[in-house]
């Protein structure tokens, strides 16, 4: 039986039910790890470590979670803080070996992907870090602008501006693909 986040959190806090937290981890692990890989410039090992730390930190802080925001927003906020804090301490220490290995693994898969996916990745690469993160959170993860602003610790207007500029840039870069889809 799939319980919603609120019910699982209630069981964890009131009954100390760790199996309920296991369900939450399984529910969000893929999305969070994928998001952090982008934030960690492709360093998968670092992203997974950060995701792991975020889940543990979230568990410890769960009794203080008031439910004002969605659990996913709150979890992302913790994870983003961890990554940003790590980046500040270790600039610009990216595990290049891990990145190269990941890219080599990806290249096999990429060869099988449609050109659309490749071009979309390249187009996303044209955006600034903040624009890419804003688009990822709002258009890929489905967070509202307010939620994205809370996660990224940026003013709402700045996030909206990032999303709008990124959208306009992507619209121009991907116009050919879109016309092809529309024209069938």
């Amino acid at each position: 039986m799939d319980l919603n986040d609120e019910e699982l959190i209630r069981r964890i806090v009131k009954d100390g039910d760790q199996r309920a937290y296991g369900q939450l981890v399984r529910r969000y692990q893929s999305q969070l790890r994928f998001s952090l890989r982008q934030l960690c410039d492709g360093d998968q090992a670092l992203a997974d470590d950060m995701a792991q730390e975020a889940f543990i930190k979230a568990y410890k802080a769960l009794p203080a979670f008031r439910g004002d925001a969605r659990f996913s927003t709150w979890l992302y906020r913790i994870a983003y803080n961890l990554v940003m804090s790590h980046k500040r301490k270790n600039t610009p220490e990216v595990n290049q070996e891990a990145v190269d290995r990941a890219q080599a693994e990806e290249s096999v898969e990429e060869a099988q992907q449609l050109g659309m996916a490749r071009d979309l990745n390249s187009a996303m690469g044209e955006l600034s870090d903040a624009q890419r993160q804003a688009v990822h959170l709002c258009m890929q993860r489905g967070f509202s602008h307010e939620e994205a602003a809370s996660i990224m610790k940026l003013p709402l207007g700045t996030v909206k501006s990032h999303v709008n500029r990124a959208r306009a840039k992507l619209q121009t870069l991907l116009q050919a693909w879109r016309e092809e889809v529309v024209s069938g």
Partner: protein, 125 residues
């Protein structure tokens, strides 16, 4: 990629009016493409590693959980006791006991008759 390069070469700084012009169809299409492009990352032991590092639940939570379990057992027992037809069972038990006593009495009587008959037969013989 060629298409992207062609588009890229045509890319110019965006005007404010271009930024304001929102295209809901494009938003939906882009969201769809971004989500379609995202692989599902297999767990690969990630959840186990997280669960192994969680601090044990507090004793207070455990006590609360135990109390809740005891409460549930007591409540279930109360419902069963409330619904259970004790009077019928007692009546039936009494009846069964009487029948049992009758059976035992009949057995004892039959044994006595048989023993008496045996003794009488033995004396005659």
């Amino acid at each position: 990629m060629d298409r992207l390069n062609q588009q890229n070469s045509r890319f110019e700084p965006l005007s404010d009016s271009a930024l304001r012009a929102k295209d809901p169809d494009f938003d939906a299409w882009l969201s769809q493409q971004l989500q379609f492009d995202e692989p599902y990352l297999d767990d690969g032991g990630f959840c186990e590693r997280v669960m192994a590092q969680l601090p044990p639940p507090s004793r207070r939570s455990e006590r609360r959980a135990t109390r809740a379990q005891y409460g549930a057992v007591v409540a279930a027992s109360a419902i069963v006791a409330w619904q259970f037809p004790f009077d019928q069972v007692l009546t039936e038990a009494v009846q069964q006991t009487i029948s049992l006593y009758s059976l035992v009495g009949l057995g004892v009587l039959a044994s006595l008759v048989a023993m008496t008959g045996g003794i009488v037969a033995a004396r005659r013989g």
